[in-house]
Symmetry: C2
Subunit: 344 residues, 2 copies
């Protein structure tokens, strides 16, 4: 097995949270640090990005920090996102629309309770070739809880797909064997992102460990295995989206209502390389990190002026990114990875 | 529905953690405060109580703080607990032996990996009429995780029961519909305790909320319903054991390796009354809290000089018990209960 992997093009991360303001300035430099040149940017700011002008203004703020990254922009699905807004967004170069079910994760208070009112919007997206990004969970209620919330959502995924078969849909951060199976059963317009942290975590890792708590929660060992199998299978329906979620340390290290999210941006390619390495599947790494997402999205991107080299080298994840109250604890802080990202 | 319930005798709590030293002095006064006069004391100190002399010395320390409580004492199952020690313990008035599988909960590092070496000990306990208290979980490994750890243990419960049918066994803090069913299927020598907090919590309540994290973890809504049904059924196999677990606040409010346990001692009878009240089952309360456990254990106890009255009255749970680094966060801190314990 080679001790150096040179990626022919940098990683494309199809699920990135950079927030705004100070947090944005802290996190944006870590995109490149983690080996990523294409960042698909989530719209769940406070308030969320529900008009084209706000998305474009946000993109300008991102580019002011680092203009070398290709920021691929999205809108937040809400009643404001009419078919007219979709046409305007497509003309403005916005790629996708992210749909959050109401109340299931960070900044989802403005989210969707029913999909039916959005059928005209989905039809316009299908016409324009825009991508629908689904946070695929039903809110907990009655028999629905955090562990079956994703599986309970899968009939909705299949229903939207059958109504809009040409609409490209990404089931974001899939976490269960059931979701992997459902995505495989759909046509080629349906794909899924897989995060770095879900390649490592199961329920035991977040029980009593809020640093590892995220939504969707990590599930059973058999689900983790299904994600590893999908990510390393060479099936182009499964590609990388880190869902790296920066939260100030005080919002994570608490006894009650810890923020949901795991921060992986600094070491994005290294974590995934670690998981593939442990399975002896490094030959499938570049396809998952770099190729399949770009193929599905057919995005326009800047030609990066740098190259990502993964070196087999001991690499201890630092305790913190940043300082003071705004500092962020990275995934596997203090633990040792076998692979290191170098930008050359 | 009456607004006052006078219990004919105080609550018997068949699973109590009071620790030692400062924490013991903080917690013991809360036993009576919660309406409890009989406290079945857990032996998982550091180091654990593995000889008769240590158990008796611990009992003396407890009585020095409050001699009006009936402390029912237990040994910690470990290789030191030979049949000879069982006979000595029975003669010394020790009631039970608590068995912790290795590594599954607080201070279980000295716990049991296999039950087979303990068959002679179990035979001696059966002969002496001592009670075996089982923390019924398999350690997480392979396909076993915190959510099926109890269900995976149930064949072991049934196996021990079939080998020692006259040995009284309590499946401690049962948390799943499967465990309730297994206990029902066993003969009359097998019973189970149910905590206060498991009458309220499901997995969603401890996801990102380490204050509600305990072992066994709270499970699905259907499991919670099975516990409520068992507790309010009038079946004498199910009785109260709070498993109230005091941990210093700093060990609970943290991002990593939060201590497992929920502290309910201060409001023990009030929490359970709340759960039964919400189901319209207050007529079953005294049997669950006071009668069935005493019947199963046939214990000797001091005649309490006080009476427990439950009053229907707004009762906000305080934010903390104690002060400083040793303070403990009670279950439902800051929330309002409808019932209040009065000692008259």
């Amino acid at each position: 097995m080679a001790d150096t992997i040179t990626l022919s093009r940098p990683v494309a991360d199809f699920h990135v949270h950079v927030r705004d303001g100070d947090m944005m300035r802290l996190v944006i430099p870590t995109i490149k640090q983690g080996g990523v040149s294409v960042a698909y940017i989530m719209p769940n700011l406070v308030p969320p990005l529900t008009c084209v002008a706000d998305v474009l203004a946000y993109k300008s703020r991102l580019e002011a920090v680092d203009s070398s990254i290709s920021y691929i922009m999205t809108l937040y699905l809400s009643p404001e996102i009419t078919p007219e807004v979709i046409h305007e967004a497509a003309n403005a170069g916005i790629t996708g629309v992210k749909c959050y079910p109401a109340g299931v994760t960070t900044n989802s208070d403005y989210g969707v309770a029913s999909y039916i009112p959005y059928y005209p919007t989905f039809a316009a997206m299908e016409e324009e070739g825009m991508v629908l990004n689904l946070h695929g969970e039903c809110p907990s209620s009655g028999h629905i809880h955090v562990l079956n919330a994703e599986e309970e959502f899968l009939p909705t995924l299949k229903d939207i797909h059958s109504r809009f078969p040409r609409l490209r849909i990404v089931l974001e951060h899939c976490t269960s064997a059931a979701a992997v199976q459902a995505v495989k059963e759909c046509g080629p317009t349906v794909a899924a992102t897989i995060t770095a942290h879900h390649l490592f975590l199961t329920i035991d890792n977040w029980a009593g460990n809020s640093l590892n708590y995220c939504k969707p929660v990590a599930k059973f060992p058999s689900d983790k295995q299904a994600l590893l199998d999908a990510a390393t299978s060479g099936d182009p329906k499964f590609f990388f989206g880190s869902d790296s979620a920066p939260h100030p340390i005080g919002n994570k290290e608490k006894g009650k209502n810890a923020a949901a999210g795991v921060f992986t941006q600094t070491h994005a390619a290294a974590y995934v390389a670690e998981a593939f390495y442990q399975l002896g599947k490094l030959d499938k790494l570049a396809a998952f990190l770099c190729d399949f997402g770009r193929q599905f999205y057919k995005i326009q991107e800047k030609e990066p002026e740098w190259t990502v080299v993964l070196r087999k080298e001991e690499n201890v994840v630092p305790a913190l990114l940043g300082e003071g109250a705004g500092a962020v604890v990275p995934f596997k802080a203090g633990e040792q990875l076998h692979w290191k990202v170098e930008i050359v």
